[in-house]
């Protein structure tokens, strides 16, 4: 059964130096507050995993938390590039960043394999692209019935997955809706999981399009209102699109970036 914890406790207990960490979310429900807490607690040497690393990964990378990124699309959604990500790849600043690069279809299926307790997934993907030349773990597999050659990718099993959801009940059952991306699979694929939620309620009223993660499939739940800002939580908030545009300017320059992080993340009041 999931434990109800504070965000600081949850990160302290579940995210460790050197871990493979997935903070998943697909534009919607990005776990920004949890990412900030990881930065405040000074985690290092992380392998960050995510289909769509965006601004929170730019921040984690720029603060030197990560040594490796496993991903399929790294950008500022609707705006452009991630400058801290670029600086790390192009100039090894502040530390070198290894890349393991896939397509969305490949990453999604790697999470599915992890969630399914299988060592690999099969898909039609990557064929003819230059990705397999640079990404070691893309292989072929032959159908034992038809002889057709398909692509195989290994399961993703993060040490810990962190996601944000709209609600949980006091027993720790988690409910999310709207665009839910690959979050269910990412939680089920992980050895441990931390879910931040907009609010903890007495009863989870069913909602169309909901995804429910039963308490016994989640390690810990923390109530963090607005924990997805500047991303959004459908039914609770709208996306702060201005923030994403402003981030482009903030993140271009190393000093501006450090100052911004100092002021808005490192010195931010931490929930007890």
């Amino acid at each position: 059964m999931a434990k109800l914890v504070s965000l600081a406790e949850g990160v302290a207990d579940l995210v460790r130096d050197g871990d493979v960490v997935a903070l998943e979310g697909f534009t919607h429900l990005i776990p920004f507050a949890a990412g900030h807490e990881i930065i405040r607690q000074g985690r290092q040497d992380l392998t960050l995993v995510r289909m769509t690393p965006d601004v929170i990964y730019d921040q984690l990378i720029g603060m030197g938390c990560a040594r490796r990124l496993v991903f399929s699309w790294g950008g500022n959604p609707g705006v452009g590039s991630l400058h801290r990500f670029r600086d790390a790849v192009q100039n090894s600043w502040p530390v070198p960043l290894e890349l393991e690069e896939h397509s969305h279809a490949g990453m999604a299926n790697r999470f599915v394999a992890g969630a399914s307790g299988l060592p690999f997934a099969v898909l039609r993907g990557y064929t003819g692209t230059d990705l397999p030349r640079h990404t070691g773990n893309i292989k072929t597999i032959t159908c034992p019935f038809t002889g057709e050659v398909l692509t195989a990718v290994p399961a993703l099993r993060p040490d810990v997955t962190v996601v944000h959801a709209q609600r949980a009940d006091r027993a720790g059952n988690v409910q999310m809706w709207g665009i839910t991306g690959v979050q269910k699979e990412a939680v089920l694929a992980a050895h441990r999981s931390l879910v931040t939620v907009e609010e903890i309620v007495d009863e989870l009223e069913p909602v169309p399009g909901q995804v429910v993660l039963p308490s016994w499939a989640v390690t810990a739940v923390a109530e963090v209102p607005a924990g997805a800002h500047p991303s959004y939580a459908q039914g609770y908030s709208v996306r702060d699109n201005d923030f994403y545009v402003r981030w482009d300017a903030v993140s271009r320059d190393r000093d501006t970036f450090r100052e911004w992080m100092e002021q808005h993340v490192l010195k931010a009041e931490v929930q007890a």
Partner: protein
């Protein structure tokens, strides 16, 4: 008489016209999303828009600001998981048209959105990467590419093949086992390119009003083939421009 318009507006209108009513279209964000929504608001009201965030049949009344904009989920026929959109909907070839952008494009319609210059481990410019594009390019019935034409984008050989067009020429898609038809048309701010049926090489088949073949050649990093029956694209109609500008305006409002 048409009103004044920009080359980007011409490009978006020309791209929108490529989408047939009643088909299903896998939409990338940016130019493709604008064009697809313009098509739905004009000649293709029953165009089915599919976004990789899992929104099937989204019917936004404003331009989405990202591929995971809430308006897409709110107006979709169904919102499914990301694994499902790729496995159950894209992979089996259910989607008629894939609508993609590009950072680099070569003469065989191969697309690069990964790295520019240097080598992969030490690139000159690190781009966002593949996203859904490799499998969209592989599995959709056909692909429409929208991209501004310049020596920076239209190069003889892309630095990295993120998404396969016709590979290195005829027969390559079949040899690779790709089941979709590949790039049917490339729409730029200068005109329209289509693969030559024999060589698969992108060939200039239409020019936007006021653009010359020389301009197109000067913006292409290979020796651009030009169709014998080179035609002119109709300029945007008043209606197309009005709807497009109204859509663009919603984007600015939504961003506040």
């Amino acid at each position: 008489m048409s009103a004044e318009y920009t080359s980007d507006e011409m490009m978006t209108v020309a791209a929108a016209r490529q989408l047939r009513d009643g088909t299903a279209c896998f939409v990338g964000i940016g130019l493709p999303s604008t064009a697809a929504n313009l098509a739905r608001a004009t000649h293709a009201p029953n165009l089915v828009l599919i976004y990789e965030s899992g929104c099937l049949g989204a019917k936004p009344d404003r331009l989405p600001l990202s591929i995971g904009d809430g308006i897409l989920a709110d107006t979709a026929d169904a919102v499914v998981s990301v694994p499902e959109v790729f496995n159950y909907w894209l992979q089996p070839g259910r989607i008629d048209v894939g609508f993609l952008g590009a950072a680099q494009l070569d003469r065989y319609g191969n697309i690069n959105t990964t790295v520019i210059g240097g080598d992969y481990a030490d690139p000159k410019v690190r781009l966002p990467g593949a996203g859904g594009a490799p499998e969209i390019a592989a599995s959709c019935g056909e692909v429409v590419v929208v991209v501004r034409q310049s020596l920076r984008t239209f190069i003889d050989r892309v630095d990295f093949v993120t998404s396969v067009g016709y590979g290195r020429g005829p027969g390559d898609r079949e040899r690779l086992g790709l089941r979709g038809g590949g790039p049917r048309v490339v729409i730029t701010d200068l005109g329209v390119l289509e693969p030559d049926p024999k060589t698969c090489e992108l060939t200039l088949t239409r020019l936007h009003p006021g653009v010359t073949v020389e301009q197109a050649r000067a913006a292409t990093g290979w020796d651009l083939a030009v169709a014998a029956d080179l035609a002119a694209v109709d300029p945007p109609t008043e209606h197309e421009l009005t709807v497009l500008r109204a859509l663009e305006a919603t984007k600015k409002v939504a961003a506040r």
